[in-house]
């Protein structure tokens, strides 16, 4: 009997142990010596402790990312952030965005625009070489633009599509002719389109699977192990000078918590992952760490299906917006590290924003609007009825994003107060995409009521891109995932896309802002601050690009002044 009890007790103890193991699944790497399971088999050169390296020693930096980006070339990289930013280490564009997001000449030395705004004459920098030693010429630029035109499914195909012609009068000059003046040409094309080498790509017919990483950029991709790491080596012959970091090792660590604990212990020295708000105080108080933060342009919004009743009614959408306290969302979910949404889409820090447009929180008014529409709770179940049907809906949220799930819960609770029954459904990102934005093509329709959504910072950096959010024609409104339609908006947007004069641009943008704030095809909830932590002892000369963060090539070129 004694023996049996022992065994039973043993099993009980085992149960306790296992419960604790579950609870403690996250590796708590408190000692610097503790191994990080996800750490790739780092090459020997990078193992030497970088923290003690004097300045003459090569600087080796470990900067963790969350997911693999597959082949790091313009057709195959995966994420808009940080994949696109990593691409910028290897490839260059003709212009580059500086800390204030102003396009500055980079591979080019200048862009002369003709009086009618149709012809851009671009001169190229001397002495630029591809990473394999071949010279970089205007033929490469022409080739790259035409390659993106011909081979679809790159991010750059739509913007280069309507270029009329590209001429190369000599090795150092490119002349681009447009069908109409394009005010965002430098920002959207020249500062964005990565130039690929003609001698490497000329016979490539399957760009999505082509394995090559030769660019002109400050870093060469030296090694990539799928799901383990990327290793970049500085390009010593870079035309803007040798980068200040000799080697960047980017281990792939899939769990943000592990990323932060590795940063705290020094196993990595930087990361592309924005710091979670709850860690800011702790990290700021740690003398080994430095935290850079500033306004972020990435958005979080409540997206309506603007085609489905009752959300197709602008007044219902207004009632929803009035019921949501965005300041409270920022305080609760982001712990204050963010800016409440501007209903007119633009970040309030944006130069084109009209400060008179503000979000209003007024649930009483929301109820009034719904009462006025005749949408009343006739059967006393706490939910209003619209045309005989209860005002209910499903709010989709990405299951890998706890902050969005929490926001969704708070929104559902707020809408319950005004008599709407919203059920929060958490799905994996792919499933949410499939319902809201099937095949990433808005012309394929949509099947949802409400969804938590967000766009990455570059959509905000170029204010002219706001037309893509609201224009009803799917080819122009390529990210109008709610299917919002308003002829007035379409006319204004058409005018805006060909307006070159900045004053007129601002005027048109503010008109659009006012309409968006009134019609609310989506409710802007907040813009989360960009918070980035790193260990300055290894490398600290990061450049915080407004709204976009520290992951950009200029961060590694402190002496280059574009």
């Amino acid at each position: 009997m004694f023996r049996s009890n022992l065994r039973v007790a043993g099993i009980g103890v085992l149960g306790i142990l296992i419960a604790l193991v579950i609870a403690a699944c996250a590796p708590v790497a408190q000692q610097p010596s503790s191994p990080v399971a996800q750490q790739p088999n780092a090459p020997a050169a990078t193992v030497a402790s970088p923290t003690s390296a004097p300045s003459a020693q090569p600087v080796s930096l470990r900067m963790a990312i969350l997911t693999d980006e597959r082949i790091l070339q313009p057709y195959a990289y995966v994420t808009g952030y940080p994949g696109w930013n990593m691409l910028g280490l290897v490839y260059d564009s003709l212009f580059v965005l500086d800390a204030n997001n102003t396009p500055k000449p980079w591979l080019a030395t200048g862009d002369q625009v003709s009086a009618d705004g149709l012809t851009h004459t671009i001169t190229l920098r001397d002495g630029v070489k591809w990473q394999d030693g071949q010279p970089f010429t205007s033929a490469d630029v022409k080739f790259a633009f035409e390659y993106y035109q011909k081979n679809t499914h790159s991010r750059w195909t739509p913007p280069v599509k309507n270029i009329t012609s590209i001429e190369t009068p000599d090795d150092k000059t490119v002349v681009i002719t447009l069908p109409a003046p394009d005010p965002s040409f430098e920002r959207r094309l020249l500062a964005d389109v990565p130039i690929i080498p003609q001698h490497v790509w000329k016979d490539v017919t399957e760009p999505k699977t082509f394995e090559n990483n030769i660019g002109t950029g400050p870093f060469k991709l030296a090694e990539h192990k799928l799901d383990e790491f990327y290793r970049f080596e500085a390009n010593p012959d870079y035309f803007m000078g040798k980068p200040a970091v000799d080697e960047i090792l980017m281990p792939i660590i899939k769990d943000p918590t592990t990323v932060f604990s590795s940063l705290k212990t020094g196993e990595i020295q930087a990361t592309t992952v924005p710091l979670s708000p709850e860690l800011v105080k702790d990290f700021e108080g740690n003398s080994d760490l430095k935290v850079e933060r500033g306004p972020g342009f990435a958005t979080t919004m409540l997206q309506f299906n603007d085609e489905r009743a009752p959300w197709d009614n602008a007044e219902v959408r207004q009632a929803v917006a009035l019921a949501i306290d965005t300041q409270k969302l920022v305080d609760t979910v982001l712990l204050g590290y963010g800016t409440p949404g501007n209903p007119g889409w633009l970040h309030p820090a944006h130069t084109f924003h009209d400060p008179s447009i503000k979000a209003v929180y007024d649930p009483a008014k929301a109820k009034e609007i719904l009462d006025g529409l005749g949408y009343k709770d006739t059967d006393n179940d706490g939910v209003r009825e619209a045309d005989g049907k209860p005002m209910a809906g499903e709010l989709l949220v990405q299951s890998n994003n706890p902050q969005r799930i929490r926001s969704a819960e708070l929104i559902a609770a707020a809408l319950k107060e005004i008599g709407l029954n919203i059920k929060v459904t958490s799905l994996d990102t792919d499933s949410v995409d499939a319902k809201t934005w099937p095949e990433f093509d808005v012309s394929k329709g949509r099947d949802f009521d409400l969804a938590m959504w967000g766009w990455s910072a570059p959509v905000m950096v170029n204010p002219l891109r706001m037309t893509e959010l609201v224009v009803s024609d799917p080819t122009k409104g390529s990210i109008n995932i709610g299917g919002y339609k308003n002829p007035e908006v379409d006319t204004l947007a058409a005018e805006l896309t060909t307006t070159v004069d900045p004053v007129k641009q601002k005027e048109l943008i503010q008109k659009l802002e006012a309409i968006i704030a009134r019609d609310l095809p989506f409710v802007m909830l907040y813009y989360q601050d960009g918070i980035y932590a790193f260990r300055p002892a290894t490398y600290g000369q990061w450049m915080y690009q407004q709204g976009q963060g520290i992951m950009n090539k200029l961060s590694f070129l402190p002496n280059a002044k574009p």
């Binding site: 009997m1 023996r3 049996s4 009890n5 039973v8 007790a9 099993i11 009980g12 085992l14 149960g15 306790i16 142990l17 296992i18 419960a19 604790l20 193991v21 579950i22 609870a23 403690a24 699944c25 996250a26 708590v28 918590t257 932060f260 604990s261 705290k264 979670s276 709850e278 860690l279 702790d282 609760t332 979910v333 712990l335 299951s399 890998n400 706890p402 799930i405 929490r406 969704a408 819960e409 708070l410 609770a413 929060v424 459904t425 958490s426 799905l427 994996d428 499933s431």
Partner: protein
């Protein structure tokens, strides 16, 4: 009969007290909890205080209240999933034990297959494929853990089939269905009940692990979801694990142990041979494959699905040895 044996088994009584306490807590959650756990009653990330005994979570909900209400969801999922497993397991066990032809053999091979399936990966896959809701969680867990109860029940059926009264009813020409339902089923019901209790202890742990991995329904307040948010919001880095993770882990452990202790005590009560033979069993070597004894399936211990090492205990050998006596 069960009750009397249970009362004599001190560990069984302990399990009963543990589980009883937790069930009471779940039932009377709305009286016991100081706050409504879905309401924001404090600032986010508060440390424990008089107002919030276990502090607040990432959006300012009271963790202590979450813990009390969490018992409801966790117990519900655990019990429902175990019920599914036992219904399937009993049916398969009855059929496989009674019909020893191709049907029985086929069912037993199916049981073998389900037993060797790598458990957690498959469950993660299924949960991701079916989507996140507590009903899917119940179904997934239920569908994956019926094999062990099926095996135990089959061995009981095998021995019952040879009993005189079953033979007698066959001789007088009773139909198979009637024999199964009227003669054999009552003989395995109490065993099924014990298996159910043991399965429930496993399912509660499974629910917690799946929810913790983010594969449950993050909008339901179960213990697993509390852990999910604690991990997602860096409780291990900020020190909040002390009041956010530890009490939750403790509740899960107490429930699991409570179920397990009751289950073991019930099995013991139902199977007197288990007591007598245990001493021999510990040192026994694995015997031939034949299983014909309603031996106690120690390998349904709650910990089994998470660590494959537990599965390799010599328990199966012991059970076989008893059978061969």
């Amino acid at each position: 009969m069960i009750w009397h044996s249970l009362r004599r088994n001190r560990l069984g009584m302990l399990g009963l007290v543990l589980l009883g306490g937790i069930v009471l807590m779940a039932v009377f959650a709305n009286w016991l909890a100081p706050y409504d756990p879905s309401k924001l009653t404090g600032q986010p990330f508060e440390s424990p205080s008089a107002a919030h005994w276990l502090g607040t979570n990432d959006i300012g909900q009271d963790i202590f209240s979450e813990l009390i209400y969490g018992a409801r969801v966790s117990l519900l999922i655990g019990v429902l999933a175990a019920a599914i497993a036992i219904v399937i397991g009993t049916t398969v066990g009855l059929l496989a034990g009674y019909r020893q032809g191709p049907l029985g053999a086929g069912l037993m091979r199916l049981v073998d297959v389900v037993l060797v399936i790598p458990f957690l990966p498959l469950m993660v896959l299924l949960a991701a494929y079916l989507g996140q809701s507590i009903w899917n969680l119940v179904i997934v867990i239920g569908l994956l853990i019926w094999a062990r109860p099926a095996r135990v029940i089959r061995s009981q059926v095998l021995s019952l089939t040879e009993r005189d009264y079953v033979l007698a009813s066959r001789v007088v020409g009773a139909k198979d269905n009637r024999i199964l339902v009227r003669a054999i089923l009552p003989g395995v019901l109490s065993l099924a009940l014990a298996q159910f209790v043991l399965a429930a202890s496993g399912t509660i742990l499974l629910e917690a692990s799946l929810s913790f991995l983010g594969l449950g329904d993050p909008t339901q307040k179960s213990w697993g979801t509390i852990l999910f948010y604690a991990q997602a919001r860096n409780a291990f880095l900020t020190g909040a694990w002390l009041w956010w993770v530890l009490p939750t882990g403790l509740m899960i452990t107490l429930t699991v142990v409570g179920f397990a202790l009751i289950g073991f005590a019930m099995e013991e009560a139902l199977n007197p041979r288990l007591k007598a033979s245990r001493a021999i069993a510990v040192s026994s070597k694995p015997a031939p494959k034949k299983q014909s004894n309603p031996g106690r399936a120690t390998d349904t211990a709650p910990s089994e699905p998470l660590t494959s090492t537990v599965r390799t205990t010599p328990s199966s050998g012991r059970v076989d040895k008893i059978g061969a006596e």
